[in-house]
């Protein structure tokens, strides 16, 4: 069954870039790809159980909710606490990394990311 990958980023260009990078995995049915531009919408859908994921990729700076806070809220839910989350960021300060570690995020990816790196990370995390 296809693994569900969700990306949340308020930039449509970043979402499209990730979708292009993952095109082969999407068209071959290895992954199912879904995107959200608004982290609150994703959080709501996860909380009421209408959404689920095998891997979440989240931006940090989003107007409605910071990606780390989103990750914290998701991780505090029993249903999702062991699910992998990758944080996308333009700069990763030590402070941010400490917060991420405390929340339990799986990894970091610095924007702009290379297609190869994204694909490689996904394959590694999802074991596909």
């Amino acid at each position: 069954m296809a693994k569900k990958v969700i990306i949340v980023d308020d930039s449509r260009a970043v979402v499209a870039t990730a979708e292009l990078a993952l095109d082969e995995m999407i068209s071959s049915g290895v992954i199912e790809f879904k995107s959200y531009l608004n982290p609150m919408e994703l959080l709501g859908a996860l909380q009421n159980g209408t959404e689920d994921f095998d891997l979440l990729i989240s931006d940090v700076n989003m107007p409605q909710l910071n990606g780390l806070e989103l990750a914290r809220s998701i991780k505090s839910d029993e249903r999702y606490k062991n699910k992998p989350i990758i944080i996308l960021t333009t700069e990763s300060s030590n402070e941010m990394k400490m917060t991420g570690k405390e929340i339990g995020v799986t990894g970091w990816m610095v924007k702009p990311f290379s297609d190869e790196k994204l694909v490689k990370s996904l394959k590694m995390i999802l074991g596909v």
Partner: protein, 165 residues
């Protein structure tokens, strides 16, 4: 899986905006999307050529897509992006107002473009698609250039490469 049945394969397109109009390019030709960056102008090139960019060491000619479509210029903002497309083995950047999304389009929803009158040449629009309530004009990027223009773009790349060495 049903989407893999021959004949109903859904094609995927990257859609973007120029003004209020939405356009699409088949994703198999797209190399990447980058944020707007410094474009160096190159003399003696067609007027719709904004210049070249240096993308991680590669020199890529960049088209002012608005100008090519006969639209008025517009100030760049945080959404302005450059879509890098491979056209006849040459990577060319297209400046767009805003990238929208990657959309799957069922070939059944594609139709031939209507004639828009004579004031603009619309040969480069190969299809018109309906995505939800939006109409998307699918571009045939190669038709955006005259044959000799592509040759000159290739030459720009080579000249810039030599100068950079």
């Amino acid at each position: 899986m049903s989407e893999n049945i021959v004949g109903v394969k859904r094609e995927r397109y990257l859609t973007f905006y120029l003004g209020h109009e939405q356009y699409g390019i088949a994703i198999d030709k797209i190399k990447e999307i980058i944020a707007m960056m410094k474009v160096t102008s190159v003399p003696k090139t067609p007027s719709f050529m904004r210049g070249v960019i240096n993308l991680r060491g590669s020199i890529i000619p960049v088209v002012d897509t608005r100008s090519r479509f006969g639209m008025e210029a517009r100030d760049e903002d945080m959404h302005t992006a450059i879509i890098i497309v491979e056209v006849e083995k040459v990577n060319i950047g297209f400046i767009v107002d805003r990238v929208e999304e990657v959309s799957s389009i069922d070939p059944a929803n594609l139709s031939v473009p209507p004639k828009f009158g004579n004031q603009i040449d619309t040969d480069f629009i190969c299809n018109v698609a309906q995505i939800e309530e939006n109409v998307v004009m699918i571009l045939d990027v190669i038709k955006l250039f005259e044959a000799d223009e592509l040759v000159s773009l290739e030459q720009i790349q080579q000249i810039q490469k030599r100068e950079g060495e």
